[in-house]
């Protein structure tokens, strides 16, 4: 297990290095001089030169790359050029909205998809199964940000159960913020839960056809005991992969959904940074998002190996 973990850790570090190179060079090399780009066309040359010096652009490109990566490793992401505060502080504050939203949506996805997928698998071929499959087919086709708008229209404007947007802040208490994140999380979770329920259903159906399930039934377990005790565990392996992938979809989705609910998360930060040409912020947030996705993939790989000993030997 340790050897497997180490080999995965090595490929994780390699991915991170390549990803950081790609991001850095796309942002810093292609557009020419970042300082004049950030200041716009009408900037005076001495302003551009001053910003260049401040950003360290007079240094060779490789030195700047190392400074950027080294800074990130020590928690120093540089200073935002529009906000005039450390990028690390900006990101930390915004993560306090985006991350809980993503995790909330992921939990909802799992809580909805597991029972629905199991019921569909257990009753496969029935009208209930057909209904569930039709419903998930529709759920997959719904854009989450549009579903979010419908939720606002119905629950916030018509029924007035929730506010249409905004975020009170964690210092105002736990539940009031959870309530503010509920509609966005539901909107994010619905399409992903539809996908996961379908994966769950086919994974359980596949394991139900295996010999060990027949053995379990033959030794006297009821159908339900066989499903819960044996099929479910084995079906979890493909399900786990999808959940790992879904994390990155939810995180990207959270960035879009934040627009619907006016949530002060990473999405608002990055879209403002793009319009204000605050490249340092764009660079750091993108790196953070990619880091999160690579990290989750790594954790899923480890979780697999913990569940399935065969994978450990293969590495």
């Amino acid at each position: 297990m340790l050897r497997y973990a180490l080999s995965r850790l090595l490929s994780l570090s390699l991915s991170l290095v390549v990803a950081s190179l790609v991001i850095f060079f796309v942002i810093e090399v292609i557009p020419g001089d970042p300082a004049s780009y950030m200041l716009g066309m009408n900037a005076r040359p001495e302003t551009v030169a001053a910003l260049s010096r401040e950003l360290g652009l007079d240094q060779p490109i490789f030195t700047r790359y190392l400074a950027w990566v080294g800074g990130m490793l020590t928690g120093d992401f540089g200073t935002s050029y529009t906000y005039r505060v450390p990028v690390g502080d900006l990101i930390a504050a915004r993560l306090g909205v985006s991350l809980p939203l993503t995790v909330y949506a992921l939990l909802l996805t799992i809580v909805i998809a597991f029972p629905v997928g199991l019921i569909a698998a257990a009753t496969r071929g029935s009208a209930l199964d057909a209904g569930i499959m039709g419903g998930t087919q529709l759920g997959i086709a719904v854009p989450n940000f549009w579903f979010a708008m419908l939720l606002v229209l119905f629950f916030a404007i018509t029924l007035q159960w929730f506010s249409a947007g905004g975020f009170p802040g964690w210092d105002r208490g736990f539940w009031i913020n959870i309530k503010a994140l509920t509609l966005p999380a539901v909107a994010l979770a619905l399409p992903q839960a539809s996908i996961l329920a379908r994966v769950m259903r086919s994974a359980v159906i596949e394991t139900l056809g295996q010999d060990y399930i027949r053995t379990a039934r033959a030794k006297g377990l009821t159908s339900r005991q066989a499903v819960v005790g044996h099929a479910l565990r084995n079906a979890l392996i493909p399900v786990l992969t999808i959940i790992g992938l879904q994390f990155s979809f939810l995180l990207a989705g959270a960035i879009i959904i934040e627009n619907v609910f006016f949530l002060p998360g990473l999405g608002r930060l990055i879209f403002q940074a793009i319009t204000q040409r605050d490249l340092i912020v764009v660079e750091s947030v993108v790196m953070l998002l990619v880091f999160a996705v690579i990290m989750v993939t790594f954790l899923v790989d480890l979780a697999y190996a913990a569940v399935d000993p065969r994978l450990r030997r293969r590495a």
Binding site: S11, L14, S15, V18, A19, V22, I23, V26, I27, I30, P31, Q137, L138, I140, A141, V142, P143, F145, W146, M149, L150, V152, L153, I157, S248, F249, L251, A252, I255, I256, N259, V260, G267, I270, F271, A273, I274, R277, L279, V282, V286, L289, V290, V293, I294, T297
Partner: protein, 273 residues
Amino acid sequence: MKRLPLTLWIGAALSAVFALAALVSFLWTPYAVDGMMIASRLQAPSAAHWFGTDHFGRDILSMIMVGARTSIAVAVIAVGMGMALGVPLGLLAAANRGGLVDEIIMRGNDLIFAFPALVIAILITAVFGPSAVNAIIAIGIFNTPVFARVTRGGALSLWTLDYIRAAEVAGKGPARISVEHILPNIANLLIVQGTIQFSLGILAEAALSYVGLGAQPPTPSWGRMLAEAQTMISIAPHMAIIPGLAIVLTVLGLNLMGDGLRDVLDPRVRRAR
């Protein structure tokens, strides 16, 4: 002749409606989409305007028809780009199975998977500014590893078969075998995956134009119609509901068609039933 699955018919019909709407929009739309008619703004659906009008008095049906053009064009080109890059990479990886080239291609794939389409779009937009072309490139890059993986998976199982070995004995090189024998036999897989990526592309295009990273005004696009509808949602809900329904029905149609095609074309699924 085998009976085609019902889902295939429903899916094809839904997709055809939107493809037709896009085609007709080149010749005719009920109203002009670039004309502002402030007098008729924010009208609910009626006999004159089937889907109502927006905050500039533009006819929403006409906007939906022209928007279908944007959605379909972006998604089709992005699928084409993903195939053009991904399929040769997948064939190469399979021909080199177990080798260094295979390893590099697969690791490269994993790396691109770590960049969600939205993140690629953000990067491109930060550098070049927003446009529909960015959306195409972002979705196309996102599609590439998907096609590479499907191609490699399909090709790997073929490489073990006798007729491929016979072709090798006959003196054909791996490149020629890949093109002459492997590619035709995985075309089914690619068509099915292409349909799925097409529908994902429509969703991604809508999301990107909704956040302002896709098609720019005055090009009508379903995602931007939704962005504009957002501030009007309490006074003109039809502005938000109708473009969303257009997206849902198109994506649903393509997904149903993809499922139906898979049932017909993919021998593995047929056996499993």
